[in-house]
Symmetry: C2
DNA sequence: TCTGATGATGTCACTTTGACACAATCAACG
DNA sequence: CGTTGATTGTGTCAAAGTGACATCATCAGA
């Protein structure tokens, strides 16, 4: 017998989509990567990058593939699963399960629109228009996750280039949280957290006191800030 | 035209399962609700309660249904989505997506085994044997989520009966975290957090100083402990 | 009535935070 | 070449929170 056991026939088989909340920080603003629907439904409406999982594909692979295909963005920074939405009442085509992912990366310039999306670009979170499907809900969940994780983990370095200053890191916190932080207390906190920042050089060549350049560690999400950095 | 748009044919359609990490506290121990596989694969092996989502069913409804069918447990306490696993390399029957849920409830005695599970019972977390599928990984994620959430939310009351004492609440923290907490500092912390506990009565009828009975609030996960309770 | 058990309240040193001032250093400008 | 403005590192201080501990209050049962 070649197939001794099988999934019961009563089990529903659903198309599975991945949608990516890709965030970055630029110009003091928290930015969201948005695409535009090239096909029905919601044709022409802005949406999160994403698409259907293919046969034999894992979820994170599908998320990275859709991100690259639709926006040309290589999520080198950080990718984590966010939550799963659906399958009911979220797609006019019928029941669709959507596994949302959260991608954090340093700002690398304007993405190229490609694939089946007519355009893809970074948009300030405050200026995000109504999105297709339930992507507004997914985006809100992603931003809240990012905000919360900055408190108790070292994830903020995922937004930073390989080498960055304390001021750069503070700008990430200020953009994601939408608040102003005291530079001196912030520096005291992050430099006093063991295993968070590794000093690698001193930056000069611009006005002002020379700044220490730091490097994050390989897995910034593993850094535990205890006690956490607290938002005002 | 009755079907103007449809899910593309390249999209894979997957059977979707829900698996539930149901936790409670009894006798000073963190307890996990385990079922036993009645069918192949993994027949006879312990596993988490769960099963396949049916047509027209939402994910949380499926989780509650499987919990009731397999164990007779009514997850009145708290139910939240945990994470999604798969679809590859987790089920010998082929690709299966599993959406895991976390259920927290007060201890209500021995569950009745029913449905297609030959037995269901609360097992101390420390004594959990190897589980079927990837349920060991799922269980570990659920316990870690519960441990983390006790730090910064009021979720611990989900483990408690409608009325409870500070000592009861502290027993929850000690069981979930596996540590001993100072009773006086703990009481100072939780009673000093606004919106966490509502005193409702004074309990007498047993030796010792009369204890104040408290009631949790409707949505304990919404209570924010800032600064959080920290594990030693 | 005494005793042990249980829980509420209080004390104290130490740490961390929030809000400041100040010194150090460099590029750019005159 | 000195001055200026900008930027960053270090320091101070009061207030709040925490960990560790002692004491008191109250009740059931011996």
């Amino acid at each position: 017998m070649t197939e001794p056991v099988a999934v019961p026939g009563t089990a529903v088989r659903l198309p599975v989509a991945v949608d990516v909340v890709a965030l970055t920080v630029a110009g003091g603003d928290l930015m969201v990567l948005l695409a535009t629907r090239a096909l029905e439904p919601y044709r022409g409406r802005p949406c999160l990058p994403g698409g259907f999982v293919l046969d034999g594909e894992t979820l994170p692979r599908a998320a990275l593939r859709e991100l690259a295909e639709e926006t040309g963005v290589d999520a080198a920074g950080h990718l984590e699963q966010l939550a799963t939405f659906g399958p009911l009442d979220r797609d006019p085509r019928g029941p669709v399960l959507s596994v949302a992912y959260l991608a954090l990366s340093p700002f690398t310039g304007i993405p190229r629109g490609g694939g089946d999306a007519t355009a893809a670009q970074w948009v300030p979170y405050a200026d995000v228009p109504p999105l297709a499907f339930d992507h507004g809900t997914i985006l809100a969940a992603g931003v809240e996750r990012a905000r919360a994780k900055l408190e108790y983990s070292g994830l903020a370095t995922a937004f930073c280039p390989p080498e960055f200053t304390i001021a750069d890191l503070r700008a990430v916190y200020e953009a994601v949280w939408g608040v102003r932080l005291d530079p001196r207390n912030f520096a005291r906190k992050v430099t006093g957290t063991p295993g968070f920042l590794v000093p690698v050089a001193t930056r000069t060549g611009r006005p002002g006191h020379p700044a220490t350049l730091y490097r994050g560690i390989a897995d910034p999400a593993a850094v535990v800030l205890n006690p956490p950095v607290m938002r005002p």
